[in-house]
Amino acid sequence: MNEWWTGVAAIAGTMMVYAASKRMYRRFPAPLMLPIVTGTIVIILFLLISGIPYNAYMTGGQWIESLLGPAVVALACPLYEQRHLLKRYSVPILSGIGTGAVIGIISGLVFTRAAGASKEWAAAVLPKSVTTPVAMDITTTLGGDAPLAAMFVMVAGIGGVVVHAQVMKAVGVTDPVAKGIGMGSAAHAIGTAKSLENSETEGAVSSVAMTVSAVIVAFLAPLAGNLFL
């Protein structure tokens, strides 16, 4: 019975923290103010100060987490609604995303090996350019820790948003479709939110790129991981 109440409190508390951090972000829309950043910090601080073990918190937290699977499935809806974009620019879109996915996985492999990282770390780094729930699934499949994967995904997303304009300038990209492909395949959902502010086309392409990239990386990363880790 006690455990039941802990679970209910964890669910209610997480939802309250999320609602508050979402409101904060609306007032101060900076990348480091994203609900996932501030919300995570608040929950971690709360657990550390109150001394509640993470496992006890997860008796409730796991119920929220269990909605991630259906959320990934739901990505099929925006992808289907943007299918005209995929049809119209199929070759440039798929080639761009494919290149990004392959470069991301290869550089991830090279860097983790150069740093002398263990298999567990590398498994968390490899899928860092795809949306969090998919990255966590890939990392778990490869024998790594999902929270670490989520951390690296956030670094890629926030870092990507911060440097996007400079990177586009550096490689001489001015086309909104190409810009959206870079954003979606490198900085996933966090980047897509930013692209939507830049232009409608860039945002729509970024959302397509994010989902297609998740599918490509979900096929390639486990393959690369099993071969090279």
């Binding site: 657990l47 259906p70 620019y89 990282a117 699934d137 440097v163 490198a186």
Partner: protein, 122 residues
């Protein structure tokens, strides 16, 4: 009746998710079941008269509040003190550089092909 519809929509998404997980298990695939479920739903949209509108309330709610769903997982960093190490810092830097590479090459390749196609048409 809105709550009722949301629950039904999420249950439908769950059904696709579990089918994906089941296929992964049976065929011993390394691809996450969630991605297989997503592809399955996409196939249903493409090959039947079903449209995303049918599950709009449920899918919109989940997609619009994705950060809430992974807050419990990211809070798990509380038991991952190893991230705050030299190796952790090196890997964060590596992830950042890799992100630049992905962004630069992906955009560049697609712009190159877009330009080429436009020239071809003119």
């Amino acid at each position: 009746m809105n709550v009722f519809r949301i629950v039904i929509h999420i249950l439908i998404l769950y059904a696709f998710y579990w089918t994906g997980v089941w296929i992964q298990g049976v065929l011993q695939l390394p691809i996450p079941g969630s991605i297989l479920g997503m592809l399955l739903l996409l196939a249903v949209f493409i090959f039947t008269s079903a449209t995303p509108k049918w599950i709009q309330e449920g899918s919109g709610l989940l997609l619009g509040n994705m950060p809430l769903l992974f807050l419990p997982v990211t809070a798990g960093l509380v038991i991952h003190g190893e991230l705050f190490s030299v190796l952790g810092a090196v890997l964060v830097t590596a992830v950042f550089i890799s992100t630049l590479l992905v962004m630069g090459t992906g955009s560049w390749v697609s712009q190159y092909l877009l330009k080429k196609r436009r020239e071809h048409r003119e």
